[in-house]
C-alpha cells in the first residue's frame, strides 16, 4: 500500500538540484523543475549509480558514472547506455513540506 512520506521542506529544494534520499528500501531522487517537483528512482538502470549525484538540466537527470540521461517527469531513458526507464513517484506540497508517495 503506497503511502505519503514527508521528504523535505519545500524551501530546501532548489531548481535543478536533485535531492537523494531513501524511503525504506527505495532510493529516490527528488528534483524541483520549473513546472513542479518530481520524484524518480535514484538508481540508474544501467549499472548501480545514484542519479541524484549527476548533472541536472532541462528536465533531465544524467547518470554520474556513464552519462545515461533520464526524463525526470516520465522516468524515460533518453540515451544509452541505459535502456530501461526509472520508476516515477507522485509528489505533493502541503504546508511548506514536500511529500513523495511510495
Amino acid at each position: 500500500m503506497a503511502t505519503w512520506h514527508r521528504v523535505a521542506d519545500e524551501a530546501e529544494l532548489k531548481l535543478d538540484t536533485p535531492l537523494g534520499l531513501r524511503i525504506g528500501e527505495v532510493q529516490i531522487a527528488v528534483v524541483r523543475l520549473d513546472d513542479g517537483i518530481f520524484a524518480v528512482n535514484d538508481v540508474c538502470t544501467h549499472e548501480y549509480a545514484l542519479l541524484s549525484e549527476g548533472f541536472c538540466e532541462e528536465g533531465k537527470l544524467e547518470c554520474p558514472l556513464h552519462q545515461a540521461c533520464f526524463d525526470i517527469r516520465t522516468g524515460k531513458a533518453l540515451n544509452e547506455p541505459a535502456e530501461v526507464p526509472v520508476a516515477t513517484y507522485p509528489t505533493k506540497v502541503e504546508g511548506g513540506a514536500v511529500y513523495v508517495q511510495v
Binding site: 549525484e53 548533472f55 554520474p64 558514472l65 556513464h66 535502456e83
Partner: protein, 402 residues
C-alpha cells in the same frame, strides 16, 4: 535492396547493425560473431562479472529476441576466414560464402601477450572476452595470490575486483606511475594511494623479464625483485584485429585506416569501433585509434550513416571511464601532462581541468565527480579562454563558466 555484412558481433557490430536498421527498413543485415554469445558490452567483465554482482543492463544491452525483431541476421559461432573483394563475399571458416554490397569490419582487438619466458604458462591469463572473464572468475574463487602485469585500466580494475574478493594482489607496472597513458601524474598518485590503502602491492618501474614455475606456483622476475603468485593476469593493451583486412588488401597501420566516417580505401568496405584508425577532429585530423566504450558505441553509427549515404564524420570529444573500488574516474579530451592543471577538489571528489597556454580547456579528469562531466565537455567544446584562478574556486559552479 542493400545487403550489408558486419564481421564482428561485439558492441561496435551491434551498434552498426541497429543504426543501419533505423535508417533502412529494407536492408539485409547479417552480423557475424565468433563467440557463442549475442553481442555484449565489455566494461562489466572486469568488475560485475568477476565480482558476481548484477551487471544490470550493462552487459547484454539487448534482449536475445531483439535481433530477430529488428531482422538482424545474427550468426554466432561464425568466424570469417577471408574477404573476397573481387566477388564481394566473406568466406567463413566453415567454407560458406556470404555475399555483400557493403561490408563492415568490426573485428575489435585482442589482448596483447607478454613476450617473455614463461608467458605461455596456462596460469598466465588475459581478459578480453566473456569466456576469459568466466575462466578468471572461476580461478579467483580459490583466492589465489594474483599478480597483475600492467597498471593500466584493465589491470587495475582486475586488481580491485580480486582484492575485493579477498585475494592477495600485486600489480607490476613498467612505467613509474599508474595509468600513465591517460591521466596526469597527480591523478596516478591518487590512484596509487587508493590501491595501497586497499592492500594492493604496487610495483612501479618494474620490468618483468621472466615467469618461472616454482613450488607449484609462479615466480615473477623483475630485476632483483621476485614476486610469487598462483595466477597472473596480463593487461598491457590491445592489438587490433587487422589480419582479415590486410589479407584483403585494405590499408592497415596499427588499425584499419579509414576516413573520418569509417570508409576504408576500398569502396563499400568500412571499419567500425576500436579496430579503425581515423582522422580525429579533436586532434586536428591526426589519425587515431581509440579503445573505448564511447568509440564502440558511436563511431559505428557514423559508419551506418556513411552506408546510408549521409555525410556525418565521427568527431566526439573523447571520453572514457574506469571504476576501481569505490572510485569512478572519467577522462575527457586530452589531459596531457604538459597542460596546466586546475584542480577543483572537495574531499575525495576531484575535477581537474587541463588548460592549454591560451587558457582553453583541452581535457578534464574527474574522480567521483560525474556531475561535472557534461559541463567539462562543454568547456572543452567551447574553446573559450578561461581564468585559471576563477576556475579553481569551487564555490563557483562549473556551469557559470560556460
Amino acid at each position: 535492396m542493400t545487403r550489408v555484412v558486419i564481421i564482428g558481433a561485439g558492441q561496435a557490430g551491434r551498434r552498426c547493425a541497429e543504426a543501419l536498421r533505423e535508417r533502412d527498413a529494407e536492408a539485409t543485415i547479417i552480423l557475424l560473431g565468433e563467440e557463442p554469445h549475442p553481442p555484449y558490452d565489455r566494461p562489466p567483465l572486469s568488475k560485475a562479472v568477476l565480482l558476481g554482482t548484477d551487471p544490470g543492463n550493462g552487459l547484454f544491452v539487448r534482449a536475445p529476441e531483439f535481433y530477430a525483431e529488428k531482422r538482424i541476421d545474427l550468426r554466432l559461432n561464425t568466424r570469417a576466414a577471408a574477404i573476397d573483394v573481387a566477388a564481394r563475399q566473406v568466406v567463413t571458416e566453415a567454407g560458406e560464402r556470404i555475399g555483400w554490397d557493403q561490408l563492415v569490419l568490426a573485428t575489435g582487438a585482442t589482448a596483447r601477450r607478454l613476450r617473455i619466458p614463461g608467458a605461455d604458462d596456462p596460469r598466465v591469463m588475459t581478459l578480453r572476452t566473456m569466456a576469459d572473464a568466466e575462466a578468471l572468475k572461476a580461478r579467483l574463487a580459490t583466492r589465489p595470490r594474483l599478480a597483475v602485469v600492467g597498471g593500466g585500466l584493465i589491470g587495475l580494475e582486475v586488481a580491485a575486483s580480486a582484492r575485493q574478493l579477498g585475494c592477495e594482489v600485486h600489480v607490476l607496472e613498467a612505467a613509474d606511475r599508474l595509468m600513465a597513458r591517460c591521466v596526469t601524474p597527480a591523478i596516478s598518485d591518487r590512484f596509487a594511494a587508493l590501491h595501497r590503502d586497499k592492500g594492493v602491492a604496487l610495483h612501479l618501474g618494474c620490468a618483468l623479464t621472466a615467469i618461472e614455475p616454482a613450488d607449484g606456483a609462479l615466480l615473477l622476475q623483475a630485476g632483483e625483485a621476485r614476486i610469487a603468485a598462483d595466477l597472473v593476469v596480463v593487461g598491457i593493451g590491445g592489438v587490433p584485429n587487422t589480419a582479415l583486412a590486410e589479407a584483403a588488401g585494405i590499408a592497415v597501420q596499427d588499425g584499419i585506416l579509414t576516413d573520418a566516417q569509417g570508409r576504408t580505401g576500398i569502396p563499400g568496405i568500412y571499419a567500425a569501433g576500436e579496430v579503425a584508425r581515423l582522422p580525429h577532429a579533436f586532434w586536428d585530423a591526426r589519425p587515431m585509434r581509440l579503445e573505448a566504450w564511447q568509440v564502440a558505441q558511436n563511431q559505428p553509427v557514423a559508419v551506418a550513416r556513411a552506408i546510408a549515404g549521409e555525410d556525418a564524420p565521427y568527431d566526439e570529444i573523447p571520453w572514457h571511464w574506469t571504476d576501481q573500488f569505490h572510485w569512478n574516474l572519467q577522462v575527457l579530451g586530452d589531459p596531457d601532462p604538459a597542460y596546466r592543471l586546475v584542480e577543483r577538489a572537495e574531499g575525495e571528489k576531484l575535477t581537474a581541468i587541463a588548460l592549454d597556454d591560451q587558457g582553453r580547456a583541452r581535457g578534464a579528469v574527474l574522480i567521483n565527480n560525474g556531475r561535472d562531466a557534461t559541463p567539462c565537455r562543454r568547456l572543452i567544446a567551447g574553446g573559450k579562454a578561461l581564468d585559471a584562478a576563477a576556475l579553481a574556486d569551487i564555490a563557483t559552479p562549473l556551469r557559470n563558466f560556460l
